[in-house]
Symmetry: C2
Subunit: 208 residues, 2 copies
Amino acid sequence: MKSIITIGRQFGSAGREIGKLVADHYSIPFYDKNLISRAAKESGFCEEMIEVHDERPTSSFLYNLVMDTYSFGYNASSFVEMPISHKIFLAQFDTIKKIADEGPCVIVGRCADYALIDRDDVINLFIYGNMDARIKRIMSRFDLNEQKAKDMINKKDKQRQSYYNYYSSKKWGRADSYDLCINSSLWGIDGTKELIIQATENFEKQHS
Amino acid sequence: MKSIITIGRQFGSAGREIGKLVADHYSIPFYDKNLISRAAKESGFCEEMIEVHDERPTSSFLYNLVMDTYSFGYNASSFVEMPISHKIFLAQFDTIKKIADEGPCVIVGRCADYALIDRDDVINLFIYGNMDARIKRIMSRFDLNEQKAKDMINKKDKQRQSYYNYYSSKKWGRADSYDLCINSSLWGIDGTKELIIQATENFEKQHS
């Protein structure tokens, strides 16, 4: 196994769990929230600060208006003036690139597909699920009633979508932003894992 | 093999060709444009009339304004008043349902996933591709230059999207409108076929 797998996912779709199973299957590193502490170590930002901005959009209209006056390059002068959320995004971006240079791994969320867009050894997945299955999963995971679970799903998906659409040139949840998209409600957690392994083997056969 | 496979596809993604390969693999019927003549026979509309409206949106603003006054039910009085494009859509819809009742098959386009939404033996796929690969394919298939191929792709995709979004309750090209979405440029035609067969076997194992 020589590839890097990135996973975008709807909240409650078991995308993280499935990614972990795939990483375990291949005995390769798995990155999710744990990316934060590594990005903290490498960038000098404190972990809490990164966590606050992790996969969260910079949403206000005024903020975006101000941001339009910044160039989005990475040179010293603009970095100094750049808002903290952008600096943190770039720190995570750098960490994702370093992680990919170290070899095969699974990275969940955080625009990893976009950070690695120039590599040809990356498989970009999107995992989603039926709303009722996701609600059940979130109800049991966070001990919530149905309405609260649904609200949490909608809020989280909206955050992920805003973050992805803001920082990447692609659209979150659109099939053609990814290489393979799987409904985990239909194939099940193990079935989805198996499909990913099959797809990875096909990919490596063709790109070897 | 006991399932019905529907395939939505971007123009130039080889979705039709891949669907045919899957149907041949399982020795099951394959429906694409040939659905038109069957819908014609069963509905009494002439084939040319169905072809004119096949996967084409009803696009004008005025038209939609008028349509809002029609109920979209299927009772005798509203059917008489219904515009021809809707009648043809419903004729195709009925034919798709009949075809599905006859057993396993592959159906390409024509909102087949939506027509069969109440069945639990259906696998809904979306096949798409990288723009450069699709342009190459269409240039060679229709003997067009690059710009003309690109224009044709954009026009056809727009038509398919409008048709799908108008008649179904889902969004064309959004991952969560389907069960599995595959970038045929990355996996190749045979690789995509293999993935579909693997997915079908997983599905039937779990739903048997």
